[in-house]
Symmetry: C2
Subunit: 334 residues, 2 copies
């Protein structure tokens, strides 16, 4: 293994000079820097991560805690993870993958052993057991999703309330008067996950404000449940002409089910989803939707963390505004 002293000798300088040339923490003459860089290239030098971490008390590694349980759309998680890794690399950091299962002990472990400099936690519950720990930890963290009491934490997410509202507004502007929200599976509500409730709030508030009739229905993430839901909606709400779906796996099955029941989409029934753009675009009939911008959230989360690591102030709450794209599943009420 080639080490910093080898480089130093080869370049005719001291090890500390090499270190400073690399980090830029002290001025080094252009000429010396050139010589050092040449030596590094020639010898193929790579600083030892452990040694660096020990000496600088910075590991340049971020922890990413991913959820893995029912009611969570896997591709969204994956896309998020990839964007975190990509963005972290742009800031010269790596990403350690932790599962939700490891729980608080896992967080404490990677923080206390100085294995990571900072943490990103996904799928935060309204009353998440990890919150006190995250507040107490000596390492910065960013949460994806908003707990009930976000004070003292840094949180980021799509503004789900506004997203729910945007869907209603879109339908209302198309003339619809009776709308329904098909939401996440019941267990997601039971876990009291923030985003599910926020969508509901935004949806209901917007509907009330505009004087629309509205109902809310949690729904299992299976085609069978979608079919049942479609039948029930038509039976219980004959007036229904607009549906908002916030449950990725069910979007397409639900549309299919309505069709099977004799309704034309969008002529008889308009459907708006809250889902990733790819899903909406790739559907047989492209779906009008509010994007769930996982990649952007991931990138932003990393940037917030970097700023915190640099000792800068960051906003406690970052809500990304919803962006609705009208595609082929919504039309004026006839």
């Amino acid at each position: 293994m080639v080490k910093i002293t080898d480089v130093a000798r080869h370049a005719g300088v001291s090890p500390s000079t090499v270190s400073y040339a690399l980090s830029g923490k002290r001025p080094i003459s252009e000429e010396t820097r050139q010589r050092i860089e040449a030596s590094i290239r020639e010898l193929g030098y790579r600083p030892h991560a452990g040694a660096r971490a020990l000496a600088s008390s910075r590991s340049n590694v971020l922890a990413l805690v991913v959820p893995f349980r029912s009611g969570i759309h896997v591709p969204v998680v994956m896309q998020f993870a990839v964007s975190v890794v990509t963005t972290a690399r742009q800031h010269d950091h790596d990403v350690l993958l932790l599962t939700q299962e490891e729980g608080e002990e896992g967080l404490r472990r990677v923080a206390d052993t100085a294995l990571v400099d900072a943490l990103i936690v996904m799928d935060v519950q309204l009353h998440d057991a990890r919150l006190p720990l995250l507040r107490a930890l000596d390492r910065p963290s960013v949460l994806i999703g908003f707990p009930a009491e976000p004070a003292g934490l840094t949180c980021i997410d799509l503004d789900f309330a506004a997203a729910g509202g945007a869907c209603v507004t879109h339908l209302a502007e198309l003339g619809h008067r009776c709308v329904a929200l098909v939401g996440s599976p019941p267990e997601v509500y039971l876990r009291r996950t923030g985003f599910a409730q926020r969508v509901t709030q935004g949806f209901t508030a917007a509907a009330d404000e505009r004087g629309l009739t509205s109902t809310v229905h949690p729904c299992e993430a299976t085609p069978a449940a979608a079919q049942a839901m479609a039948e029930r909606l038509l039976r219980e709400h004959p007036e229904l002409t607009g549906v908002v779906v916030h449950n990725e796996p069910v979007v397409q099955p639900l549309i299919d089910a309505f069709r099977r029941l004799g309704l034309r989409v969008p002529e008889d029934l308009s459907v708006v989803a809250i889902c990733p753009d790819e899903l909406a675009e790739q559907a047989p009939l492209p779906i009008s939707s509010v994007a769930v911008p996982s990649a952007r959230i991931g990138a932003r989360a990393v940037e917030l963390l970097m700023r915190k690591l640099d000792g800068l102030e960051v906003p406690e709450a970052t809500m990304l505004p919803p962006w609705l794209t009208r595609r082929a599943t919504t039309a004026p009420r006839t």
Copy 2:
């Protein structure tokens, strides 16, 4: 931060004794060990990961390189990643997440900086550009998937050829005489990814051996492509009564398409998939399938790596035998 010298002082022993008590590399009297453990608990000591890595030249971190591009079923990747993390934790290791994008440079970086002790590489191509590097690296690795020339590497995967064969055998035993394989998207074949070709080989060989008529059709991973494929198959192969599908997103759409074309499944047409069990089980009509056991492969990959890290010999090739579960989409030919 509490360090090993603090523990040593508190327990009335030397730092090295604490270290040996922790690692078990030298005998420590029961009584002393107790005392040390008590001190550790009381002080809340956690060994510093960087210091440990520096002194022992072991980081206890594995690299996991995940693919993220078209034609790859995301939930499979995710499930795999989670099982790798879980198994690694059982062996006291953590997992660093890398994306395919980082390429060879990324692998070299984490290996040369001693950030990781070993690597797991997914989605290996037949002539993967990373193979020479992996062979040359001073760190052990395990590949998921088989390249054309696996000598000198450790590879593991489902035995896809046998899986393709098992599907044909199953159909043949039910009396089917004309079968088709609906495979991965064309780009997967173009990339010359091993598993796609192996399924084809196993499928064709088994069909030939049993004297069945067989055809092979790559297929885009969209419902529209599934519909077109179903139409084409019926048009070109009126005799067709058995279909093998190796393309997760298309399984259900294809079955739906056949139904729309007036065929009953399984009465008129039997369908077997090669896909994760969850997908097969959760379908409206549970699908007969050969499981893609991502979780088991992930766990096994980690175990192989651990053995290599311990300096033990491991087999160069590990092929998990296919396991076919008959569910509701296959029936005897009528």
